[in-house]
């Protein structure tokens, strides 16, 4: 299985340097469409995405992307907000809450 990356030109350039060939270049306008296309490819095991771009997606698509297991979508470059929501929903307590919050 392959590792793929999705994001704007600058984001994917670095991953190309690490040897990734499955690169999906997306603009904010067609991000949702491209990510769905990437996710439907059965050869992709891991999909690295820019955490900032995730916020552009409509909430239902975003939830679907973040809950996906095949492929696993890993948002790069931001904290654990997505996991935090999921933990809060399942456990009922915000376990990521720090003392100063």
């Amino acid at each position: 299985m392959e590792i793929a990356v999705i994001g704007n030109e600058d984001f994917v350039l670095g991953f190309r340097l690490a040897g990734l060939r499955r690169v999906f270049v997306a603009t904010p306008e067609n991000y949702g469409e491209v990510i769905m296309k990437a996710m439907s490819d059965p050869n992709i095991g891991i999909l690295a995405a820019d955490g900032k771009d995730m916020d552009l997606l409509p909430s239902n698509v975003r939830q679907k992307v973040l809950d996906s297991v095949q492929p696993v979508v890993v948002p790069v470059g931001r904290g654990e907000t997505d996991l935090r929501e999921k933990v809060k929903r399942a456990i009922g307590v915000d376990l990521y809450k720090t003392e100063d919050e």
């Binding site: 299985m1 392959e2 590792i3 350039l13 670095g14 991953f15 190309r16 340097l17 690490a18 040897g19 990734l20 060939r21 095991g45 891991i46 690295a48 809950d67 297991v69 095949q70 696993v72 890993v74 790069v76 470059g77 931001r78 904290g79 654990e80 996991l83 999921k86 933990v87 929903r89 399942a90 456990i91 376990l95 990521y96």
Partner: protein, 210 residues
């Protein structure tokens, strides 16, 4: 179970009693499963927190390195090096079972070969590009590990949610409904036996009068 759907007979009462016992046992086991899953989840969560932290820090390092490389060498040089790289990292996604739940096992095959085998010219490419490439390779390794842990965590959370819903359904819907049904059948049966006694008494008094 709505009470108007129940026929108040002894066999139904026996059946209801059996079902109540089964539901109560099931509820106990489900509760234990939920608690076990939550305990296991805490272990994974710690790991996931650390991995997310390393992904963020490795990403920042990598982005800084590539920014320096682009500033010094220019975008075209970085891009041409990026397109020249030969290595193609692959992952193998298998699965293992934990508490009857399939969780993925991701193994990465990331070749971190010698600079000479990378695909770009050693003389024409500067150390900045090499550093950036190395930083992104590191990020990729962290990313693959993070992917495995996060998927395990997501699957566990789904399982916890599912189990929790089942526990609640049993506790607040199924068992109370069955108990209500049992109460109704018992009440009806008692009522019927009382009616029967009265009828017999009436018949007896009538026959005595006659």
């Amino acid at each position: 179970m709505p009470t108007h759907d129940i026929t108040p007979t002894r066999s139904v009462l026996l059946d209801l009693k059996k079902r109540i016992k089964l539901s109560q046992n099931g509820h106990k086991i489900m509760k234990m499963k939920r608690d076990g899953l939550i305990i296991e989840f805490f272990e994974v969560m710690e790991k996931a927190k650390q991995m997310r932290g390393s992904v963020v820090s490795d990403y920042q390092i990598a982005m800084n390195k590539i920014a320096v490389a682009t500033a010094v060498e220019g975008e075209i040089a970085v891009k041409s090096a990026a397109y020249a790289i030969k290595a193609e990292p692959q992952v193998e996604v298998g699965s293992k079972s934990i508490m009857g739940m399939a969780v993925p096992r991701v193994e990465a095959k990331i070749e971190r070969g010698n600079i000479l085998n990378k695909g770009y010219g050693v003389i024409s490419t500067s150390a900045y590009i090499e550093e950036a490439s190395e930083a992104f390779e590191n990020l990729l390794v962290t990313l693959v590990r993070a992917a495995e842990i996060e998927t395990t965590m997501k699957k566990r959370l789904d399982e916890i949610e599912k189990t929790k819903r089942r526990v609640n359904a049993l506790e607040f819907k199924v068992i109370p409904d069955l108990l209500e049904g049992k109460r109704f059948v018992e009440f009806r049966l008692e009522e019927m036996s009382r009616e029967e006694t009265i009828r017999l008494k009436l018949l007896k008094s009538k026959s005595e009068k006659a």
